[in-house]
């Protein structure tokens, strides 16, 4: 039971880390960044490859974060910014996002044998277990727990206690007015992408350590579910994204425990449709404001 609880929590926290990026990006430019799941995947690849080369795990972790942030910013600058400046509508931006996602997934195939990399005994936490009283918790689940809380605190400090965080909130409120106040919206948007991509990269590293392998489609389903988590929690709010992620983690673990594992992937889509019909602003968002 305790094991399942930790399973659900670690799964939920992984989703939360990804969904934060979705939520922040959507909050600032109203775009579902479908390629976000791929930043997660590329972060995981970067971490695993550096672990296999022999770089210690704490440095590999930073490499994951940096790769996630870098790719995210790259996509923003190359893909989304020109579209924003041309004012070409949501449809084209969404299609660009999907094509970036497909591009990164299939990019891995260019390197033969890279579509599935196992970590084996290079994994620093493979098989390690913490015993607390009668309970045995895998070390990696505990690690996910601690790291996610640390990253969340860091994120909240950045968003609410720094100047750039203030600028992010201002741009999310109104891009035009904040540019009148001397904020460079493009820089702030790129920074938001970097922040979200970094969190996704971190989540990818944690997932790779947990599953002990990486593969090129690993970002698709977690990416979609994290988006659903962001919508369920109320898109644009940090605590909502975390709560939505944990909710989906619990729902999935429960569906596996009661023996309905084939609905695992379907249940979150059903949840999405239900939430959008019943409470479109999300479960945890207090104020409802419509941007026109």
């Amino acid at each position: 039971m305790t094991e399942q609880l930790f399973n659900a929590l670690s799964l939920g926290f992984t989703y939360s880390l990804i969904s934060l990026g979705y939520s922040m990006v959507y909050g600032i430019i109203n775009l579902i960044n479908f390629a976000h799941g791929e930043f997660f995947m590329l972060g995981a690849y970067a971490g695993v490859i550096s672990l296999i080369i022999g770089i210690p795990w704490y440095i590999s972790f930073f490499i994951s974060i940096i790769v996630g942030a870098f790719v995210s910013t790259f996509v923003e600058v190359i893909g989304y910014r020109p579209l924003r400046e041309k004012n070409s509508g949501r449809l084209t931006a969404l299609i660009t996002a999907i094509s970036f996602s497909l591009f990164f997934q299939n990019f891995i195939f260019l390197f033969p044998g890279a579509d599935l990399i196992g970590l084996g005994n290079r994994n620093p936490m493979h098989g390690a277990v913490i015993t607390v009283g009668d309970f045995k918790i895998p070390l990696i689940k505990f690690f996910i727990f601690v790291v996610t809380i640390f990253l969340l605190i860091l994120l909240i400090l950045i968003v609410y206690r720094t100047k750039i965080g203030k600028a992010m909130r201002a741009v999310a409120f109104s891009k035009d007015i904040s540019s009148l106040m001397g904020i460079n919206p493009n820089f702030v948007i790129s920074f938001t992408f970097a922040l979200g991509g970094g969190l996704a990269g971190a989540a990818g590293f944690l997932e790779a350590l947990d599953k002990n392998q990486v593969y090129n489609f690993m970002g698709v389903i977690p990416g979609l579910k994290a988006f659903i988590a962001a919508v369920v929690g109320g898109i644009g709010s940090i605590s909502g994204a975390v709560a939505g992620g944990i909710l989906i983690g619990f729902l999935e673990t429960i569906s596996v425990v009661i023996g309905l594992s084939f609905i695992k992937d379907v249940i979150s889509f059903v949840l999405l449709i239900l939430i959008l019909i019943l409470k479109p602003s999300g479960l945890f968002l207090k104020t409802q404001r419509e941007k026109v």
Binding site: I32, S88, L91, S101, F227, F269
Partner: protein
């Protein structure tokens, strides 16, 4: 010769899929990413119906072209039925949420087909093995495919010209404004969604009854469907001519890259790269909203209308 016929049939099916998706995405403005699910529903239902027709021995009494009509209409009706059911929850959503929900529907379809033994599971449903290695009594040919291509283009162009089509364009351009003029948005969106899906169902029947006679869940995944979206975007959202030309060029390009070994292994990579380039350089597509097919067909009709008067 058979090689060229295959390519022509492929092009025809892609034209049906692209123009019907254009009706949904480009003309009505519903960003549906689940179009391939209806394609798959048409394919699966036609295969199942054919199998039961065979096993009931009805086939000996009825001429084959009647049976063909029966199967293709059945495929269209089943696809339309499911799209009507899906449209109820999905069309309540807007923009990006709708896209994700339709994508989810496509994934749900795929995972149901993979998990239910009645539909053959992940291996797929094959008529050949079910019928004991005998070929079905009827199959699609080039002429049938192109009859349906012409029919699809004709119907969509006439829809665009009609009162109903202008309502759809109004909904695409501004939902709130058209609602305030008194248009029942939900009704028109559902109609357009169902018509497009029925056409995708026809395409599915034509696709699977040509020379395959089997369907696997993998054939109808979202990833396969991205090529149709690419055709629509390539030609220009909202332009029927664009969709037709997009379908022709991209199917030919696809055939071409199948010959080159490096590109054939990385088809989707190539596709997505093309799509990104297209979006960044020319977001409105090859033709934008320009439409020569529509003008051409409507010109013919104008002449006929005048004669009647």
């Amino acid at each position: 010769m058979i090689f060229f016929e295959n390519i022509l049939v492929n092009i025809g099916i892609m034209i049906i899929l692209a123009t019907s998706l254009n009706l949904i995405v480009g003309i009505t403005g519903i960003l549906s990413l689940g179009h391939y699910a209806f394609f798959g529903i048409g394919a699966y239902s036609s295969i199942l119906l054919t199998f039961y027709l065979h096993s009931m021995q009805i086939i000996n009494y009825i001429p084959s072209f009647v049976l063909f009509f029966l199967v293709i209409i059945f495929g269209g009706i089943i696809a339309g039925f499911f799209s009507y059911i899906i449209s109820y929850p999905v069309l309540k959503l807007k923009g990006d949420y709708l896209a994700v929900a339709t994508l989810g529907f496509n994934e749900i379809f795929k995972s149901l087909m993979e998990n239910i033994d009645f539909f053959g599971g992940a291996k797929g449903y094959s008529l050949y093995t079910k019928l004991g290695n005998t070929e079905p009594y009827f199959k699609t040919n080039l002429i049938w495919v192109y009859i349906f291509v012409v029919l699809t283009i004709f119907i969509i162009v006439r829809i665009m010209k009609s009162n109903y089509g202008r309502v759809l364009l109004a909904i695409r351009d501004d939902e709130i404004a058209s609602e305030s003029v008194g248009i029942n948005i939900a009704k028109y969106k559902t109609l357009s969604f169902v018509i497009g899906s029925v056409m995708a169902g026809f395409a599915g029947v034509l696709f699977v009854m040509y020379d395959r006679f089997y369907a696997t869940p993998k054939d109808f995944s979202f990833l396969e469907g991205i090529s149709v979206l690419l055709m629509v975007v390539f030609g220009g959202l909202g332009s029927i001519t664009g969709s037709v030309i997009g379908a022709i060029t991209l199917t030919l390009i696809l055939q071409l890259i199948k010959i080159i070994p490096f590109l054939s292994r990385h088809q989707i990579l190539f596709y997505s790269f093309l799509l990104i380039l297209m979006m960044i350089l020319k977001p409105q597509g090859l033709f934008g909203r320009l439409d020569t097919t529509q003008n051409f067909i409507n010109k013919i009709f104008k002449k006929i209308d005048r004669k009647e008067i």
